[in-house]
Amino acid sequence: MKGRRICAGKNALPRASKTARWTVALLIVLTGAAGSCLLPGPASSGTVQRFDIKATQYSYAPSRIVVAQGDEVHLRLSSGDVVHGFYLEGQDLNAFIYPGRLQFNLSRAPGSPESVPVEEVIFKADRFGKFRYRCSVTCGTLHPFMQGELIVRPNYPFRAGMGAAAGFLPAWLFLIATAGGLPQTRRNRYDLLRSVPLLGWIARRRWLPFAVVLPGLALFVLFIIAGFWGSPIGNRNILITFVWILWWFLLITVLLPFGSRIWCMACPFPFFGEWLQRRRLIGIRPDARRMWRGYRKWPRRLSNIWVQNILFLGLCTTSAILVTRPVTSAAVLLGLALLATALAALFRRRTFCSYLCPVSGFLSLYAMAAVVEVRARDPEVCRSCRTKSCAAGSAGGWGCPWGCHPGALDRNNYCGMCLECIKTCPNGNMTVNLRPFCADTRIEGTDEAFKALIMISVALVYSVTLLGSWGTVKSWANISEVGDWRGFLIYAGAIWVISLAVLPGVWALACLLGRRLAGSSAVRTKVLFRRYAFMLVPLGLAAWVAFSIPLVMVNWSYILATASDPMGWGWNLFGTADTVWKPVYPQTMVYLQLVFLLFGLACALNKGFAIASDLWPGRKEALLSLSPPALLCTTIVMGFIALFAG
């Protein structure tokens, strides 16, 4: 790569060529992956394996069956309550299981008219890996999450993933050791608005936010109608499929990494409140600089993201109900919109968005990884600027609704991408930059560090609850249907204790240990806890992407069906209402998840070293202090690999 300067440190090794170093690093990772694949495993035996699998709402028993590659598998399927399905990934076999019958109907694909009643299905486990069996007949609230797993050993993807993850740490150490110096912070930004004049023109349009929010508003109204008056079946209601599957997936995989908080521009929640405050939808009030008279300031003590953290955890605790019952989703969405409006009537600016919105919390966290940013072109211009129009407003636009001083922005967290500052700046100094992935480096408050830890914990808990095969955990989470309060308390307790005590505790220990290892008191543990938590930003984002991949690949058919029949009233707008459920390339899911998780780990380690070099005077201290948190990150990624691929 041109332009990369490597400054020689005191004890720098002879500089090796970049290609050679990266080749060796790659070899280390590949050795890890290949090595663990070559570990002795079960020999292909070709024996006959028999299993009786009983389906009940919302799990299979046994939920996990393990065979060796080449085995002949005989399955007898039964149901203990209602009609269930059984779709086995990789074998393309689908069964329709009636309760109260010894036979089940077998076909090659869901919805196939050629089904035969059989008492047993026989197939050869010819491919290695992890294959899920999923319910293919809507069987109640948690139906989309009902699954079990068939492990065909040797499970090479799992072994390779674990081996590669383990190889990352030595490879990374090797790269640092041979780098010959500390990495340089480079400012490689690409001014999007200057380079693409059309984008610049669009960004300066006053109607832009309005035009962006309008479709969202129309959908919001449709979703609320669907939630209250549409089908009570979640996977047949557009509110559930479009919000919790499609929107969530797009948000986490596209909007956030590629557009930072661009969603905040399209979000309908603050729309009415902002309208109320501005009394304009497109134009500007002449007295915009004095518009906050009579509005209160949000209390200083609450001016952090702790309330968001708590509200987010609260929603997560009830998420199994929230994301499967259209009516609860509609009530929560409507409630949040009303709350946003009420707060806007009392407090200045986007108070709800900045301090309360449960989504905003993780948007602010992961926006730091985004490849775009709103920044000043020339900081000098802003420093000498007297009007501070970007913060206070001007004839060109409103003052920053997020309460930022856009000219001084150096992190993405609390910039809602509304692009007002681009319009207000009298010097034309604000722009949108393209930048490398994960270019911000600072977590500033304990609230933000905790947010990073909470997001990892919740991703873990969700991966167990919603993507796992444990029926007991699902019935704990599904309190309103099952009514097992003791179980629900265990589940809720687990979420809160893991995310607020266990993981932060382990993280703090790792940082403490790192400080000890570094043998220097130059940096306090509290600072390490906070700063190193940035490693969890790329890691967490990758984990959430890995979590969201199955959501959309498994439930894609429901999205198509509800697009045509949004309320589940039997409409067929686009002819896709009767789309038969079938996962999209389910056998590729594990590999996609592995790629994203390993990518997240690489970014985390890379970022970690940049931060450590920034904190510590010497490279040795930096490496030593970083190694326990780096090891912990590796362990977390291995945990996700075990859940997804193991």
């Binding site: 309208w275 009516v327 309320m567 589940g568 009233w569």
Partner: protein
């Protein structure tokens, strides 16, 4: 000016989306049909095929009224089926209607013309939860000009909504609980008296179970007591030697094991008229819902029923 237009656009969206939804549902959709459309929704949680509109708002709490479907003789209708939760099957054998598979999320439409007048029973014939066996009702076909009759809807009258499993302290008590909780009572009758009509079934009504003791050759009270004690001790019914203290153990056990096997594996109901429809009621295989021990306690309940009947028979003479 700009803001004025924008305000109008927002109001249009807010009012327009609901209006479009309403107009499409109300006017665009039913135009395809010349016939009357009857919307029937299966609700497993309420154990009813209902004519009421089921939505996200009311599904969770409303006790939906089982549908009594009124048709005029000779009237052409479209029956439109939907499910509000799980897979159901709609079947009205006496009218030759169905069984219609009603998969959640897919609307099934059946054109139907009622040729004969009368009151006909319909069923849900795919097990759909605790209330499945109550998911039945009536189709009333009335000749034009006459006043339609209103049969009483079939509701969960025998359900045990709040009862807890009494445990296996007394097998017969637990058996009675299971007999009602699992819905056996809906077909085999209160106290196993049977008598429930099963359309085109070779025996016409569902078999009774109050003579089980006699069928198992357990007419002697001492034998019954010993037999129940053995079941309670979980003696192996495959091993005759463990049951030597009852008379004719081999015979008793053969009958007992056959009965247990029938409960576990179920049985299709044979047709009376081979060219007629399948009877709507058949014995489900309980193997996947009840343990062997639970089935034994139901058998214990059946055996205990005989005692009560004999006592009743004896008492007038005394």
């Amino acid at each position: 000016m700009k803001n004025g237009i924008a305000t109008i656009v927002v109001l249009l969206v807010l009012a327009g989306v609901p209006s479009l939804v309403w107009v499409y549902q109300k006017f665009c959709r039913p135009l395809h049909y010349a016939a009357r459309v009857i919307d029937i929704t299966g609700v497993g949680a309420a154990g009813a095929w209902t004519l009421e509109r089921v939505s996200g708002l009311n599904y969770w709490w409303k006790p939906f009224e089982p549908a009594t479907i009124h048709l005029w003789r000779g009237e052409q209708v479209v029956l439109r089926f939907q499910s509000a939760d799980v897979f159901h099957q709609f079947y009205a054998p006496a009218l030759g209607l169905g069984p219609v598979d009603v998969d959640p999320g897919h609307t099934r439409e059946i054109g139907f013309k009622a040729e004969k007048s009368g009151v006909f029973q319909y069923y849900c014939t795919s097990m759909c939860g605790n209330c499945h066996f109550y998911m039945q009702g009536w189709i009333v076909v009335t000749p034009a000009g006459e006043k339609p009759v209103s049969p009483r809807p079939i509701t969960c009258s025998l359900c045990l909504p709040d009862a807890d499993d009494p445990g296996d302290k007394d097998l017969a008590v637990q058996g009675e609980y299971l007999y009602r909780a699992m819905g056996c009572v809906t077909c085999h009758g209160i106290a196993g008296n049977g008598g429930v009509q099963n359309y085109n079934y070779i025996k016409e009504t569902v078999p009774a179970h109050n003579q089980t003791a006699a069928k198992l050759f357990l007419t002697d009270e001492e034998d019954r007591r010993m037999f129940l004690a053995r079941i309670r001790q979980e003696a192996d019914p495959g091993d005759v030697n463990a049951w030597q203290d009852i008379s004719r153990p081999r015979l008793v056990l053969d009958r007992f094991n056959a009965a247990v096997a029938l409960i576990e594996q179920g049985k299709a109901a044979a047709r009376l008229d081979m060219n007629g429809p399948d009877p709507p009621l058949h014995m489900p295989a309980w193997r996947n819902s009840l343990s062997r021990k639970q089935i034994h306690s139901i058998m214990a309940y059946f055996i205990s029923l005989t005692e009560e009947i004999e006592e009743q028979e004896v008492s007038p003479e005394v």
